[in-house]
C-alpha cells in the first residue's frame, strides 16, 4: 500500500502541469506607463481583453503583468509566464524557444516618420539614415542585418513610445514599427505630427500572423488556448473584442 501511494505521488509529481488555478500572463506595454491604451483602448487593452476571455474559456483566473516587449519571451521561456501577449510574429528562431498559439491577427511593418519628410521614402532604397526600432523585435533584427550594407544607424528603445519619441525628437529619421502597434500610439499624437512612409513590409519576418507565446512544455495549455481562440472566432466574441478597440478588422 505504501509503495502504491509512493508511486502515485511520483506519478503526480512527474505529470506535466495542466491548467492550474491561475494563468500568469505577460502583456507587452507600448509605453512605460503600463496602462491600458488610449481612448479607444488600443493594442494593450485588446491584448488584455483577449487574455481575460481566454482565461474565462479555459476556466481559470488571470494574473496579468505589464512588461516590456523584450522581457516577455525570456519570461515565457523560463516559465515565469504562462501566456505572453507581445504581438509576436512566428519565426523559426522564436519557435525554438517557445510554443505559439493559433494566429490572433495579421500584421505588417512600415516606416513611420515625422510629417513632411520625403514622401516617397522606401526602406528598400533607404541609405545612410537613422532608424529607430523596439529592441529585440523582428524589425530590430531585420535592420541589424541591413545596417552595415546600407550604412544605417539603428537606434533601439525599450518601448514603442520611446521609439516613436526618438523620431519625434529628431534623433531618428524613421522608425520601423509593426503597423497595429504604431497605429495605437500615433492616434494619441497631435494630428499631422507623424506619417507612415513607404510600402508596407511583410517579407523577411516583418509581417505575418501574430500569436500568443507559451512555454514549450505546456502543450495541454496550448491546445486549450487554441480551442478558446477557435471558439471566440466561431461565436463572434473575437471580432466584437477587436471592434471595441479598433475600427477595422485585424484578420
Amino acid at each position: 500500500m505504501r509503495r502504491l501511494l509512493a508511486c502515485l505521488c511520483l506519478l503526480v509529481a512527474l505529470m506535466p502541469p495542466a491548467v492550474g488555478d491561475e494563468l500568469r500572463i505577460a502583456l507587452g506595454i507600448l509605453d512605460g506607463t503600463a496602462s491600458r491604451g488610449g481612448d479607444t483602448g488600443g493594442l494593450a487593452a485588446l491584448n488584455e481583453d483577449l487574455a481575460r476571455e481566454i482565461c474565462r474559456r479555459v476556466a481559470t483566473r488571470c494574473v496579468t503583468s505589464n512588461v516590456r516587449f523584450g522581457e516577455i519571451l525570456p519570461g515565457v521561456e523560463d516559465g515565469r509566464f504562462d501566456l505572453g501577449f507581445g504581438n509576436f510574429l512566428r519565426t523559426p528562431e522564436r519557435e525554438q524557444r517557445v510554443a505559439f498559439s493559433a494566429a490572433l491577427w495579421r500584421s505588417s511593418s512600415r516606416l513611420v516618420g515625422r510629417a513632411g519628410t520625403i514622401a516617397n521614402s522606401e526602406l528598400a532604397t533607404l541609405r545612410r539614415a537613422r532608424l529607430a526600432v523596439v529592441a529585440d523585435t523582428q524589425q530590430h533584427a531585420y535592420l541589424q542585418r541591413l545596417a552595415a550594407e546600407r550604412q544605417l544607424a539603428v537606434l533601439s528603445a525599450g518601448t514603442l513610445a520611446e521609439t516613436l519619441a526618438l523620431v519625434g525628437d529628431g534623433q531618428a529619421d524613421f522608425a520601423l514599427l509593426p503597423m497595429l502597434s504604431a497605429y495605437a500610439m500615433m492616434v494619441r499624437e497631435t494630428a499631422g505630427r507623424y506619417e507612415f512612409f513607404g510600402r508596407p513590409l511583410t517579407d523577411d519576418g516583418l509581417g505575418g500572423s501574430v500569436h500568443i507565446a507559451l512555454p514549450k512544455t505546456r502543450e495541454a495549455l496550448r491546445q486549450q488556448v487554441d480551442l478558446a481562440i477557435a471558439g471566440m472566432r466561431a461565436d463572434g466574441t473575437y471580432p466584437r473584442i477587436v471592434r471595441r478597440h479598433f475600427p477595422f478588422s485585424l484578420d
Binding site: 500584421s107 505588417s108 512600415r110 497595429l180 492616434v187 494630428a191 499631422g192 508596407p200 478588422s249 484578420d251
Partner: protein, 426 residues
C-alpha cells in the same frame, strides 16, 4: 434453343460456373474500385472545400470588407471636420492598405496603395491649400468608384471559388451514379447468365431425372440420358441406371422365389398349397357371380407298379411328361396342381361338370395314346382315373371330397375312366 445455349452446353458446367464467378468477381471488383475512387474524389473535394476553399472564401470576403472600409475611410478623410478625425481616418486607410489580407492580393494591394498615396497627397496639400479637397474630389470619386468595383470583383471571386469545387463534386457524383448504373447492369447480366447456366446445367437435368424416376419400373427399359455437363448430375444419372438394374434383378429374384413357393419342383405344376388358395378364390368368384365351376381329382393308374418296374427315375419322368401333357391339353384358365404323389387336383372355371367331363375324357384319350420316353430310352404309356364334382354350390373341401369319391369310384370301376360325382353335396 438459342445458339448461345448450345454453345454453353459444350462447356463443362464447373468450368463455366468458375469462369463466370471469376469474371464476375473481377468485373465487380473493378467497378467497385472505380466507384470507390469516385467517392474518394468526392470526399477529398469536400474536404478541400471545407479546409481550403471555405477559408479562402472567408479570406476573399474579409478582403472585400477591408477594401470597402478603405473606401469609406477615404470618404471620411474628405468629409472630416477636424484634423484629428482626418488623421484618424488616414491612419485607418494606411492600416487597411498595409494589412496582409490586402497585400497578398496583387490588384487590391496596388489599388489600396494608389488610394493611400492619393489621400496622403491630398492631406499634405490641404496643409497649404484649403481648397485641396474640393479640387481633388473628382479624382477621389473616380478612385472610390474603382475601389467599389474591386470590392464587387473580389466578392464574386470568392463566391466563384466554390463553383469549381462544387462542379467537381457534382461531376464525381454523376460519374459515380453512371458507374453504379453500369455495375447494376453488369450484375443483372451476370445474373441472367447465371440463371441460364443454372437452367441448362441444373434445372433441365433435374427435370429429366425427375421424369426418369417417375417412370422407373422393371417393366420399363432402363432410362437413357444425354451426357450431362455436371459431374454431380452424371453421378445421379448413373445411380438411376444402377437403380433400374437393381430393380430388375430384384424382380427376377422375386419371381424365382414365387416359383419356388408356388410350384411343384418335379412337374412345374402349382403345388397343393397354391392350388388351394387360388381355387378358393376362384370358387368364391364363381359362386358370387353364379357361374359354373367344376373340381376334379385324378390319379395315375398303376403308378406304384411302374415305379417298382422301371424305378423312381422313370416314375419321375412319367410325372413330368404327364404334367407337360396336362398343360398342353387344358385351357389357360384351368387350374391344375400336383396334389400329392401321382395324384392331381383340377379346377375348371366357367364350365359345368358335364362339359368338364367331356374335356377330361378327351384328355384321357390323348393320354392313353401318348408315348412317354423314359431316361433309359424305353417308351411307356400311362392311363389315369379321374373324379369330377360340381362345385358351383359347395365348398372347396366338400367338392374335393366328392371328386375324390368319384375318383375312387373310377378306380373301382376298372381305372382309365372319368366318373362324375352325383349330386351337389354339402
Amino acid at each position: 434453343m438459342p445458339r448461345t445455349l448450345i454453345r454453353l452446353k459444350t462447356f463443362r458446367a464447373g468450368v463455366a460456373f468458375a469462369l463466370l464467378a471469376a469474371v464476375f468477381i473481377l468485373t465487380f471488383g473493378i467497378m467497385v474500385g472505380l466507384i470507390w475512387a469516385d467517392q474518394q474524389r468526392v470526399i477529398e473535394t469536400a474536404a478541400r472545400l471545407q479546409e481550403k476553399t471555405v477559408p479562402e472564401i472567408i479570406r476573399y470576403q474579409r478582403l472585400a470588407r477591408n477594401l470597402e472600409q478603405l473606401r469609406q475611410e477615404g470618404e471620411r478623410v474628405f468629409s472630416a471636420i477636424t484634423p484629428q478625425a482626418r488623421q484618424q481616418s488616414m491612419f485607418v486607410v494606411t492600416l487597411v492598405a498595409s494589412h496582409p489580407s490586402v497585400l497578398e492580393h496583387r490588384e487590391a494591394a496596388e489599388r489600396a496603395r494608389q488610394v493611400e498615396q492619393f489621400l496622403a497627397s491630398v492631406v499634405r496639400q490641404s496643409l497649404k491649400d484649403e481648397g485641396a479637397f474640393a479640387a481633388n474630389f473628382g479624382e477621389w470619386q473616380r478612385l472610390s468608384s474603382h475601389l467599389g468595383l474591386l470590392v464587387d470583383d473580389v466578392s464574386i471571386q470568392g463566391v466563384n471559388l466554390t463553383s469549381s469545387d462544387l462542379g467537381e463534386v457534382s461531376a464525381a457524383i454523376q460519374l459515380a451514379r453512371l458507374k453504379l448504373t453500369v455495375v447494376m447492369i453488369v450484375v443483372g447480366l451476370f445474373l441472367v447468365l447465371f440463371l441460364i447456366l443454372l437452367r441448362v446445367h441444373m434445372i433441365h437435368p433435374l427435370q429429366r431425372i425427375d421424369q426418369a424416376l417417375s417412370g422407373l419400373g422393371v417393366d420399363q427399359p432402363a432410362p437413357s440420358f444425354k451426357p450431362a455437363a455436371m459431374v454431380e448430375i452424371q453421378a445421379v444419372e448413373d445411380a438411376i441406371g444402377k437403380l433400374h438394374a437393381s430393380l430388375a434383378e430384384n424382380e427376377k429374384a422375386r419371381l424365382a422365389l414365387e416359383t419356388l413357393a408356388n410350384r411343384d419342383g418335379l412337374t412345374g405344376l402349382f403345388n397343393r398349397r397354391h392350388f388351394m388358395v387360388a381355387a378358393e378364390a376362384e370358387l368364391h368368384r364363381a359362386q358370387r357371380y353364379r357361374r359354373p365351376v367344376t373340381i376334379g381329382m385324378a390319379d395315375l393308374d398303376y403308378f406304384k407298379k411302374l415305379n417298382d418296374t422301371y424305378g423312381h427315375a422313370a416314375g419321375d419322368a412319367v410325372l413330368r411328361a404327364f404334367a407337360a401333357l396336362l398343360q398342353e391339353a387344358l385351357r389357360q384358365s384351368d387350374l391344375v396342381c400336383r396334389y400329392g404323389g401321382e395324384e392331381f387336383a383340377f379346377l375348371f372355371p366357367e364350365i359345368t361338370v358335364t362339359e368338364a367331363a367331356r374335356l377330361a375324357e378327351r384328355f384321357r384319350a390323348v393320354c392313353t395314346d401318348y408315348d412317354i420316353r423314359l431316361p433309359d430310352g424305353r417308351v411307356v404309356r400311362v392311363t389315369f382315373s379321374m373324379g369330377l364334382a360340381d362345385a358351383s354350390e359347395s365348398s372347396l373341401e366338400a367338392a374335393l371330397n366328392r371328386a375324390d369319391a368319384a375318383l375312387y369310384e373310377a378306380k373301382h370301376q376298372g381305372r382309365n375312366r372319368v366318373v362324375v360325382a352325383s349330386g351337389q353335396g354339402g
